[in-house]
């Protein structure tokens, strides 16, 4: 119940602060650029990379900044003085904002793909974008819980680093969520398997667990 109440507040605040409309604008930006890709070799893969790049901004902007501000802001004293388990604050933010991130990321990907290829993207790519959007939302939440003040910036840097990591030929790329998203979308020469899903879930969960551990002892 309290998670739903908090999620409702998070949603109201995001909508009334225009954060959502800015996120919409960010999500709409790549489609015109994708149009310029038309006729290029490896069109869908390049377009998919643009969609992944968007994930370096959208989840940190919506989830990371909202959660970081909540925890850093003095208003957190109202939360901590309530009989409320602290993980619920993070869960509520994810409940309210991660679906928005997923819808925007998927919508943007469909627009990008259509703009670049004039066709609907394959279902497998849509699933991969949705999964990666959720994974990056959870990572942003974890990072913002660890370092609320710099949460959004650190999350952006992290995802940028993740994108680079995913391009490495060595096995280090296994630590990159965007790499697994690419594999699952069939936009890589690696064959997708259950391990990709597993790591796409495990990496964000590690960040979330670290963040929640820190949150337990956090004082206002």
């Amino acid at each position: 119940m309290t998670v739903v109440a908090l999620a409702r507040v998070a949603l109201q605040r995001v909508v009334r602060r225009y954060s959502l409309w800015i996120a919409l604008a960010i999500a709409a930006l790549p489609a015109p650029f994708a149009y310029g890709l038309r006729g290029e070799k490896g069109l869908l893969t390049n377009a998919f990379n643009i969609a992944l790049l968007l994930l370096a901004v959208l989840p940190p902007w919506l989830v990371g900044s909202s959660l970081g501000e909540e925890l850093d802001h003095r208003a957190a004293t109202y939360l901590w003085s309530r009989p409320l388990a602290r993980w619920k604050v993070v869960a509520a933010k994810l409940l309210a904002l991660a679906p928005i991130v997923i819808v925007l990321a998927v919508g943007s990907w469909i627009a990008i793909a259509h703009s670049a290829t004039t066709r609907w993207p394959p279902g497998v790519t849509i699933r991969a974008v949705a999964a990666c959007a959720f994974a990056v939302s959870v990572i942003s939440a974890g990072i913002s819980t660890l370092a609320p003040r710099q949460g959004m910036a650190l999350a952006i840097v992290y995802v940028m680093f993740d994108l680079i990591l995913g391009e490495l030929p060595a096995s280090l790329h296994a630590l990159s969520v965007t790499f697994h998203a690419r594999v699952l979308a069939g936009r890589s020469h690696y064959t997708p398997d259950a391990g990709d899903w597993l790591l796409l879930a495990a990496i964000p969960l590690v960040w979330l667990a670290i963040g929640l551990l820190r949150l337990r002892s956090r004082e206002a």
Partner: protein
């Protein structure tokens, strides 16, 4: 047998890095209104934060209703906390804000809105309930904070500087409302750095300075302690030296100092000093612009108490 104490602090300390917020405080509260009195930075807010369960003691113990507020949600459910700052969820209306926080404090959703409406009405904000908090004045924000603190009907209210920054009319009104809450059975801890604000709320005070409890008890007892020590009277007048001359020989005068256009007289017998001052002013036809007693402000009280005069 359960303890009748609402709050028990035993050798309680709190520090942030190298900064000491609260130092070795032992104190207990049974009910009513208790005023925490101390200048800014004295440790009042830190102490209240620990009582509210938003900060953890570094050393010693603090129990509220027999439990530790930081670790025990059931204890926090019985506490209403209005922090010193007025950072709220400004995007929400007053009703949405108070209802949401009531729900987070354990009030079922169906009852949260009526509870919020009642709390806002009690704080005199019934007409502004559907306005967003962003546009609220300082006084209205203080009232909203108080409404968030009372909406879930807690047994203990922790009000950190509830009267700061509000106009005199609103101050009187809030004081009346806080006293009404105490009359309805709530235990209340209210902090302030202004003596007369606390006096208006309660006669039971705890004096805090540099993280330590300097004195506690009835405000009049505290005043008696103060009266044992030199009392400073500041007279702004046209001829401060002439006035000083008239009083210089009096045996109760401890020290005389000058400021621009004023004389500061430190006395061990304020009543006699005021009499002699009046006589001197009349005899010498001195034009007095202002007569104040810095001892009546809190800074002077703390200075006396920390000089070891107690």
């Amino acid at each position: 047998m359960t303890s009748p104490d609402v709050i028990v602090a035993d050798r309680l300390s709190k520090w942030y890095g190298h900064v000491l917020g609260v130092s070795d405080v032992s104190w207990r509260m049974r009910g009513g209104i208790v005023g925490l009195l101390g200048p800014n930075g004295a440790g009042k807010s830190t102490l209240i934060k620990m009582m509210a369960g938003v900060a953890r003691p570094s050393r010693g113990t603090l129990t509220v209703f027999g439990g530790t507020p930081f670790d025990d949600p059931a204890v926090r459910a019985r506490i209403g906390y209005a922090p010193e700052h007025d950072k709220l969820w400004d995007e929400l209306t007053a009703l949405e804000l108070v209802a949401a926080l009531a729900e987070l404090a354990g009030v079922p959703r169906a009852r949260a809105k009526p509870a919020a409406e009642t709390a806002l009405d009690r704080m005199g904000l019934g007409d502004a309930r559907d306005r967003r908090v962003r546009g609220f004045s300082k006084g209205m924000r203080q009232r909203v904070k108080l409404a968030t603190a009372i909406a879930h009907d807690p047994d203990l209210l922790l009000l950190d500087e509830p009267l700061t920054g509000i106009d005199p009319v609103a101050r009187v009104d809030i004081i009346e409302r806080v006293r009404a809450l105490a009359a309805s059975g709530k235990a209340i801890v209210a902090s302030s750095h202004v003596l007369y604000e606390i006096e208006a709320l309660t006669s039971e005070i705890v004096v805090i300075y540099r993280g330590q409890v300097l004195a506690e008890g009835n405000v009049y007892e505290i005043r008696k302690l103060i009266d044992r020590h030199p009392h400073v009277i500041r007279v702004t007048c046209d001829r401060p030296r002439s006035l000083a001359e008239a009083l210089a020989g009096a045996e109760h005068v401890v020290r005389i100092a000058f400021e621009r256009g004023a004389v500061l007289i430190e006395t061990r017998d304020p009543d006699r000093c005021y009499d002699q001052l009046a006589t001197a002013v009349l005899d010498r036809a001195i034009a007095v612009q202002a007569l104040t007693s810095p001892d009546n402000n809190l800074g002077a009280v703390f200075d006396y108490l920390t000089r070891g005069g107690m």
